[in-house]
């Protein structure tokens, strides 16, 4: 695949450390309450390094709340989560990003009035040179090369100088992933990456996720069952803020409880 050589450069060496069996993420009794509503209820969740894990569940099952907890947007009411064995519960989003968790958003969340390359460049720059005041940003070749590699990896090569607002919906969705990727994460949380995409765009994005998954761990929330079943090695089913089931795609498809609450409806 053409994108592969540059992709190696986009992922930190540390992502490959730790061996395939090490736990990258573990949540212990993670609970989020909004007033009287319990959005997440004592969620115990383990994620192996290098895995592609899908989270599915009906609307309101707590999937996005779970992502918001992991990325520091929400502070859990009780419980904690460990990233690479380190308790990072309650850290603000910028610290969690620096620890190596990145996310893309369900509703496209980019810098619309900047060019595509600038969108990923600013993300790449968050790891180094962010406090440099007296050097022109174009003087940092390492950041620019990184940004170009990321754009190529997400299939936006040649679109670098276009304003992000002028990209097509599918391109913006991939730019969204590019921004997350440029922060050199170890764990990438994708919130419905194929939402609103055409069949062809969905296929391209699935190929993209498979390519980047070679170097990092991926947690993906998705409604498109075809995407979930093809991409994920394991699936976790959320229901009313709790984990209803967990297993391989085949196990989930046969699970009577999952069929009852989700897949059949």
């Amino acid at each position: 695949m053409a994108g592969e050589p540059t992709l190696e450069a986009t992922v930190p060496a540390s992502a490959a450390l730790g061996g395939a069996s090490a736990l990258i993420l573990r949540t212990e009794g993670l609970t989020v309450r909004f007033g009287g509503l319990t959005a997440l209820n004592r969620v115990n969740f383990d994620l192996q390094r290098g895995e592609i894990r899908a989270i599915i569940g009906p609307n309101g099952a707590g999937k996005s709340t779970f992502f918001n907890c992991l990325t520091g947007v929400l502070r859990p009411s009780t419980g904690r989560f460990l990233f690479n064995g380190e308790d990072i519960t309650g850290l603000p989003p910028n610290w969690i990003s620096q620890k190596g968790i990145a996310r893309s958003y369900q509703i496209t969340n980019i810098f619309p009035n900047a060019t595509a390359i600038e969108n990923v460049r600013i993300a790449a720059q968050s790891r180094r040179h962010g406090w440099s005041l007296l050097t022109h940003h174009r003087a940092y070749r390492d950041i620019i090369e990184k940004a170009e590699a990321v754009l190529e990896a997400v299939g936006l090569r040649g679109k670098g100088d276009e304003m992000a607002a002028n990209l097509s919906h599918g391109e913006q969705r991939n730019l969204e992933i590019g921004i997350a990727l440029a922060t050199e994460p170890q764990l990438l949380c994708l919130d419905e990456p194929t939402a609103g995409m055409s069949a062809a765009e969905t296929r391209d994005t699935m190929a993209l996720v498979r390519r980047i998954a070679k170097n990092l761990t991926i947690l993906i929330v998705e409604h498109d069952m075809r995407v979930v079943m093809e991409l994920a090695q394991r699936i976790t089913v959320f229901h009313y803020g709790e984990i209803l089931a967990e297993g391989t795609p085949e196990e989930i498809q046969r699970n009577p409880r999952v069929l009852e609450v989700y897949l059949k409806t």
Binding site: N109, F111, P112, I122, G130, H137, R138
Partner: protein, 317 residues
């Protein structure tokens, strides 16, 4: 940017700079002084553009930084004999930086209109302190002092004339412009602009937003304080009126008229506004604010980008 654009930009820059250098030699005394004053107000407006145009934070507190720059310079010129130009600048910058650190620490916790109101309140607090603390600040009457000599220690020392004062101010404003321009193009400046575009996402990709905002307010306050020092040196007084929020409002108007996010736009805006006021006050005496206000409203409706808004991308290349 392409090589041709570089050439065009620096040619325009050099031509305008040359005109400003020659101007005091051909202008009569009144307009010579007026031009120097435009440059000083332009520097103040430009400092505020860092926040308004680049970081997307509207400050109504720039009078505090400007005023403290004036009073800092006054302290140096009154307390240290003989009065020293560089010490006045140093004291002014320290005073402005102190206030800026205070305002930045508290105001940056808030966003949008709440940030604007907080900066306004802080500047009014400093106004009241300066207005009432008569023993130190001279209260309502302010402080008067002599003008320091234009000196480089060990080399030369000559009294300021209106020409050399203009050139000195021009040199400081030009250096400030080049520094601010470089800062807005630096990685730090790019972070400020992404905060303006999408604050939540900027935080999510790993930037400690609060620290960047504090740094931006401090930086902006320093340059505003520098403008205050220059104004004190030009006019040989410091007065509480210059800490009052009317000044902050004018600074925002300079930005809007000239075009935010361009750095030079606010200078042009200051020139335009001061010339309008000068012209109209001759015809309409104390009612001059009515036509100025009408023109301002018309500009906001028909030219919301400001005078130089159309050049924004080019100026930031």
């Amino acid at each position: 940017m392409s090589a041709r654009r570089v050439v065009v930009y620096w040619t325009a820059f050099s031509v305008i700079l040359a005109l400003l250098i020659v101007a005091p030699l051909v202008l009569p005394e009144f307009w010579r002084r007026f031009l120097t004053e435009i440059l000083i107000w332009g520097l103040l407006a430009m400092s505020s553009d860092i926040l308004i145009g680049y970081a997307g934070m509207v400050s109504f507190g720039h009078s505090a930084f400007f005023g403290l720059g004036m009073y800092g310079a006054a302290a140096a010129l009154l307390l240290v004999k003989p009065p020293d130009l560089w010490l006045a600048i140093l004291y002014g910058l320290i005073a402005a930086a102190g206030v800026a650190a205070f305002v930045a620490y508290f105001a940056t916790r808030l966003r949008d209109i709440y940030f604007a109101i907080t900066t306004l309140i802080f500047s009014q607090i400093f106004y009241v302190i300066i207005f009432t603390w008569t023993e130190v600040t001279g209260g309502e009457n302010g402080l008067t002092f002599g003008r320091p000599a234009l000196a480089i220690p060990g080399l030369f020392s000559v009294p300021f004339t209106s020409e050399t004062l203009h050139w000195f101010v021009l040199a400081v404003v030009t250096a400030s412009y080049l520094a601010l321009r470089r800062i807005t193009q630096s990685p730090f400046g790019m972070v400020l602009q992404s905060i303006r575009e999408n604050e939540a996402r900027t935080r999510a990709i790993g930037y400690p937003i609060e620290r960047y905002k504090i740094a931006a307010v401090m930086l902006s306050g320093l340059f505003a304080g520098l403008a205050g020092v220059l104004y004190a040196i030009q006019n040989r007084f410091a007065a509480p009126d210059f800490v009052f929020f009317l000044i902050s409002g004018e600074v925002v108007i300079f930005n809007v008229i000239g075009g935010i996010g361009t750095l030079v736009g606010p200078i042009v805006g200051a020139a335009f506004f001061l010339l309008l006021r000068e012209g109209f006050s001759r015809f309409f005496t104390e009612y001059y604010l009515i036509p100025v206000g009408l023109i301002f409203i018309a500009m906001v409706i028909f030219m919301p980008q400001g005078l130089l808004g159309f050049m924004r991308r080019w100026l930031n290349q």
